[in-house]
Amino acid sequence: MSFDLNFIGILIGAIMASSVPLILAASGELITERSGVLNLGVEGMMIIGAISGFALMVVTDNLFFAVVGSMLSGLILSFIFGLLTQSLLTNHVATGLALTIFGIGMSAMIGKNFVGIPGKEFPLLFLDLKESIPFLGPIFFGHSIILYFAFGLPFLTNYFLKKTKTGLIIRAVGDSPTSASNQGINVTLVRYSCILYGGAMCGLAGAYLSLIYTPQWIENMTGGRGWIALALVVFATWSPIKVLIGALIFGGITILQLHMQAVGLRIPVQLLSALPYIMTIIVLVVISRDSRKIKLNTPTSLGQIFYKEK
């Protein structure tokens, strides 16, 4: 194993790229959950985003349309979820699960015509800087614009939830929809918006997979990443920065364990394969053991149905 600095830089760059879908989906879901809505349909919205993005790329030959379209399709799917849970007051868990199953099936159906078409090159920024600066180059440069967006997103989300009025309203709705409603806040409208935002982010996460990470359409290509994103939100105790840390650890260990195998380290492979899950949970549990903060961050009304009595 070559341990020169540049190699480590390339490795870190690869780790960052692999954690992007998790960061995007988890950041979106985090906002949804902070408003008190538990949407288990992340995997379904991601896969719909993946196929929509890829299909639009093939049909329009325009990556901008593809990215925007993938967000729109995630948004549309989450709108169905909103309609069911917020207007028709169905159970969040059951509806979310149904959304995932629907998304996977629907994407496979749309995708039938797009199997086996090679993807298009997605523009990577600052490629020359990546080559010319050792170590730091491959870490900071030569990525897609979506990656830079994804890495800024947790900080924006953190600021948004803590410092802006809208953020406070969302948290109020998540903590006590009844009180918020009594204050004159339209709980249903706030929750709808948060659901739609979460859907758009999941769609974008899917498009990252089908347009940039493995540029092609393959059935079931999200491979359970939606579920990992969901788990990240909970283990990160609804803190955007911790979501970022968790996603990086998960992506990092996933890739490092592959390298350890390729080097031929004599560690049981099953243990290596389980390592990303174990380490992510351990680290997140350790960094979020402050129970006061957990209480502060946890949306108390998560998953509960709210309706305003008239």
Binding site: T214, M221, G223, Q261, V263
Partner: protein, 354 residues
């Protein structure tokens, strides 16, 4: 009134039962481990199904069925719903297939790549993919510059280990310095994970990428990185036109057609089939001209020799990693040994996950 209702209900149920029995059209069911659009393993089984369907035989398939408890439910469902012959097309369906077969003695079962035939209505079939791996090893040994071959492996079962060994032996023969680096991903199909594994191997110096997983992701990573690769199960050439040297193609169609007709006509018997290059169950996609015509000629000759039996993938002397002899000089490994292969040959790095 109540009695009348009961009586009519019974007669309706009776008629319904009769009509189900009368509906004895011959039907074949298929259970797939991946989606039909994987362009690899399941895709080829599906092509086989299409060939059966083309005969006018009615078929049903269920795709993306996880190996385990779900598989038994799906197989049972197919057996219950009047299928006469059921192909279960992944190694992990072995026990569920035998379990369901016990309860449905009139239904015929065909399990791919397994070895358990616990009941007289279960046949097994597989292809000698390792013959294809021998050809890949020969090409890999000649084409590598870093002397490092990267191998993405799925699960530590004899089938996969046989492929690793066959490839390594053939590569060593033409290039004694080669090393085989293996990454286990513990999945048959996860494009993201497969491409991460391919990238890790390339970063570790492999300039040949080989996979025993089903998606096209690894060859695409290889194409991007400018290293050589081989397609798996079906011709993946168009996903990585520059990188792919050839693909091992599984051709199940003739077997599926033959067995479906046999089952329909009542001549189906339990058997264990293991066909290779000779019978055409294993075929090679066109060779990439980047290899040069000399190497292509060599490989084509080796392919002919393997098919005719003049050459064998496991010809002695073969040693395990510790240097113990597995196959004596001049001898070839018998099918029993191949079927249960669970040790690496000398030259493979690392341990088999237990």
């Amino acid at each position: 009134m109540y009695k009348l209702f009961l009586r009519s209900l019974i007669s309706v149920l009776f008629l319904l039962g009769l009509s189900i029995n009368a509906n004895a059209e011959f039907k074949v069911g298929f259970v797939y481990v991946g989606p039909t659009g994987d362009h690899g393993w399941t895709y080829q089984h599906h092509e086989g199904r299409n060939a059966v369907e083309a005969l006018g035989i009615k078929t049903t398939y269920v795709e993306s069925v996880p190996e385990g408890a779900d598989a038994e439910r799906v197989i049972r469902q197919l057996a219950q719903s009047g299928h006469d012959l059921i192909f279960t097309t992944s190694f992990g369906y072995m026990d569920p297939t035998n379990k369901v077969a016990k309860d449905f003695p009139n239904v015929k079962f065909e399990h791919a790549t397994g070895y358990k035939r616990e009941h007289s209505n279960v046949s097994t079939y597989s292809a000698r993919f390792y013959e294809g791996r021998t050809l890949l090893g020969h090409m890999a040994g000649k084409m590598t510059k870093t002397n490092t071959i990267g191998y993405i492996a799925s699960f530590p079962i004899p089938e996969v280990i046989r492929g690793i060994n066959a490839m390594t032996l053939a590569a060593q023969k033409v290039n004694p310095d080669i090393k085989t680096k293996i990454v286990w991903v513990f999945t048959w199909y996860d494009p993201g994970k497969e491409s991460e594994a391919a990238q890790a191997l390339i970063d570790q110096g492999a300039d040949i990428i080989m996979q025993h997983t089903d998606s096209t992701a690894p060859v695409q990573v290889a194409e991007k990185a400018g290293v050589w690769s081989f397609g798996q199960a079906s011709d993946m050439q168009r996903f990585a036109p520059k990188s792919i040297l050839t693909s091992i193609i599984d051709d199940w169609a003739p077997y599926y057609v033959e067995r479906s007709i046999a089952a329909r006509d009542g001549t189906w018997k339990q058997q264990d089939t293991w066909h290779g290059l000779k019978e055409g169950m294993v075929a090679m996609a066109p060779y990439n001209s980047a290899m040069g015509s000399d190497l292509i000629k060599e490989v084509e000759q080796l392919q002919k020799d393997l098919a005719s039996g003049k050459a064998h993938s496991f010809t002695g002397p073969i040693y395990d990693q510790k240097g113990n002899i597995l196959v004596a000089e001049g001898a070839v490994a018998d099918d029993g040994m191949l079927a249960g292969m669970n040790v690496y040959v000398k030259g493979v790095e690392g341990d088999i996950p237990q």
